[in-house]
């Protein structure tokens, strides 16, 4: 047991150690082989990958918060319960929006529900999310958003000012996004049976003739672009809840992504393979979904992923990876290699997308997996989330 606490040692950083570290020119680039039998390890891993590629089964006794988190539990609920029950071909494609043919026209259609807590947060509110979230799902199908329906579930006792503020936010956001609100519905439930306000929006758009997008269209060699700095929406919500006693100037990134999609379609045309907005589960979840849908691998260069310092700092303190944090105005695009450069330039010219970046590429092996080349020079898997510790971010 100690007799004195040496506080001067606590205060002493040893950042200056670097010269001590940098005394040799040694390099270690040898590939890894394990003395414990790499052959057997590879075999065990391939069995696991085969099992993972199978459609999920819904075996839980009850719904837990994990089913709403967008990770593996959500996936097994969708694949094990919803798809077998509704099983249309369109639904099975599991795109952000469905393409429905109507008398020669191709419409994109989608729906989304919003339960974010708190209702207002830096950079946005539940009303803005309800418009942009659905508009963006339509846009991810390569469709120009046209119209929205709006369903409100209100809790008894909700302040009229709060309701009015959200209605105004919805109207303003819809105007900016160029969509019309064409139908709606309202229900009120007893106090305690909802949390202020829940919103459901359904969106319709018309598919752009330049768009040839599909989650299964990715090919080895394709490049992966993100439309800006990541992780701001989820971080803003976490801090707005006040559970961490952290303070930082981080605002939600909520915005319409149609201008970005329009620019990408213009620059890359059929070279644009697929789009996803990186909402719940973040960029990591989107990449995993696409890798699985196309049966390809992805390698992300961690050092090239744009993250604002404030977001990085909050993530560092909270022990989370910004790649898994939700965005509400950022997309991931897979682009044919020959069109990647012009697509990135076009994206960066769109207001709000100045920080867009090329973060990695599609590979053939190992199928269905997303791998990261860490900034430190190592490698690792970037898997789907198992459960989101922070529910109700949208």
């Amino acid at each position: 047991m100690s007799d004195v606490v040496r506080s001067e040692e606590l205060a002493h950083g040893d950042v200056g150690r670097s010269e001590e570290l940098a005394t040799s020119e040694g390099r270690n680039t040898a590939s890894r082989g394990r003395s414990t039998g790499p052959g057997r390890e590879a075999k065990v891993l391939s069995i696991i990958e085969t099992a993972r590629a199978k459609r999920g089964k819904f075996r839980d006794a009850q719904v837990t918060m994990a089913h709403g988190a967008g990770g593996k539990a959500t996936q097994s609920m969708i694949e094990g319960l919803f798809l077998p029950a509704f099983g249309s071909e369109t639904l099975s494609a599991m795109a952000d929006a469905a393409i429905v043919g109507v008398g020669g026209a191709e419409l994109a259609m989608t729906t989304d529900t919003f339960v974010v807590k708190p209702m207002r947060f830096p950079g946005g509110s539940i009303g803005e999310l309800a418009v942009n979230g659905t508009v963006n799902d339509v846009a991810m199908a390569g469709a120009r958003p046209l119209a929205l329906t709006l369903a409100l579930v209100l809790e008894e006792g909700l302040g009229a000012d709060e309701l009015r503020a959200e209605v105004e936010a919805i109207a303003a956001t819809a105007r900016t996004a160029g969509v019309e609100l064409v139908a709606g519905d309202t229900k009120v439930v007893e106090r305690g049976h909802a949390d202020g306000m829940y919103i459901c929006t359904t969106g319709v758009g018309v598919r752009d003739p330049r768009a040839r997008l599909a989650p299964s269209a990715l090919r080895p060699g394709d490049r992966l672009l993100v439309s800006g700095t990541i992780g701001e929406h989820g971080t803003a919500i976490m801090l707005a809840r006040g559970e961490f006693e952290l303070d930082a100037e981080i605002e939600s990134d909520t915005c319409s992504l149609w201008p970005a999609v329009d620019a990408l379609l213009h620059a890359a045309g059929p070279g644009l393979r697929c789009l996803r907005d990186a909402t719940r589960g973040g960029v990591a979840s989107v990449l995993n979904e696409l890798a699985r849908a196309s049966g390809v691998a992805m390698v992300v260069r961690e050092a090239d992923v744009p993250v604002r310092p404030a977001v990085m700092g909050a993530a560092e303190i909270l022990g989370i990876d910004p790649m898994y944090v939700a965005n509400e105005g950022r997309l991931v695009a897979a682009v044919a290699p020959e069109d990647a450069e012009s697509a990135l330039a076009a994206l960066r010219a769109v207001p709000g997308c100045e920080d867009a970046a090329d973060i990695g590429e599609v590979r053939a092996d190992p199928p269905g997996m997303v791998l990261v080349a860490t900034a430190f020079g190592g490698r690792r898997v970037m898997d789907q989330l198992v459960g989101d510790p922070l529910p109700r971010i949208c």
Binding site: V5, E9, L21, E25, G26, R27, L45, R380, D383
Partner: protein, 371 residues
Amino acid sequence: MKYVDEYRDAELGQVLAGEIAAAVPAGEHLKLMEVCGGHTHSIYKYGVDDLLPDAVELVHGPGCPVCVIPMGRVDDGIAIAHEPGVIFTCFGDMMRVPGSNGTLLEAKAQGADVRMVYSPLDALRIAKANPERDVVFFAIGFETTAPSTALTLLRARAERVPNFFVMCNHVTILPPLRALLESPDLRLDGFIGPGHVCTVVGARPFEFIPAEYGKPLVVSGFEPLDLLQSVHMIVRQLADGRREVENQYARVVPYEGNLRALEVMAEVFELRAHFEWRGLGFISRSALKLSEAFAELDAERRYSVPGVRVADPKACQCGEVLKGVIKPWECKVFGSACTPERPIGTCMVSPEGACAAYYNYGRFSREQLAV
């Protein structure tokens, strides 16, 4: 990010990796155990393993607080959570640890009021905000987190909060290390010492490892360069024929520990005669309980809990993984019956657990990915 990026410099990492490779005596294969789950997590997160030469192998040790909690204790916690009027609080990882009949997350879905907190003080705050209900904090962790539980208990008593209780599952790091070193099937050449535990207990208590067992130990920080430098220091000791405790993490760890924290712990806790460790069995004097002076705040005294010892599932080899005898992928149920979404063993639950870290981050054939 200042004060962080300096410890993640890829070029320095390559340089250091080269020095490690050069320092390993020819023909040797060294097995080093990182004791702490936080190290396991860092090693995988940054891909530190990738930079090490083939002759140095890292073995993941027992220092993950969630991973060592036996099923019976989870059952006891769930039983308390189901008591009428109870608000049950715990850290997020703990909610997914399986007991013999489900997890706390499932208990929550069944109606128990289970809430995730980030600190025991959050639980105390909940108690003050809900004076008509009992608030129980499920305390876990090594000496790293025990002082914060102790300080919270002191505050609860000073502020006379009558409805705050702690179910104490705090454990101590030295007894399992000794048990490990006594284990006949163990073959280790050195230890990466648990930096966070050492901020509290200091580095001195680990001196028995070189003295009695002839193994070097280097107390390490958690950044990738910290880990590489610690490996380098261990390899140098082995090459020079030295066996001692060294402190790589001197910017945070005083060699003698944090006296104030140790005092608070001594005031609030006493050693249990024995405690069951997941996969390791009963280890005497290896865990803490509330002392007599704090009996009124002890959830185990307020509620009668089943207190039943539940055998680990037969197929689960967490014990061997925790002892470093097998690699996670060598376990019979790894990745098939036992996955992070449906864990059988605790090593698959916490991101600090060896199996979860390997499954989430390391599960790829290295030959397939040349970056």
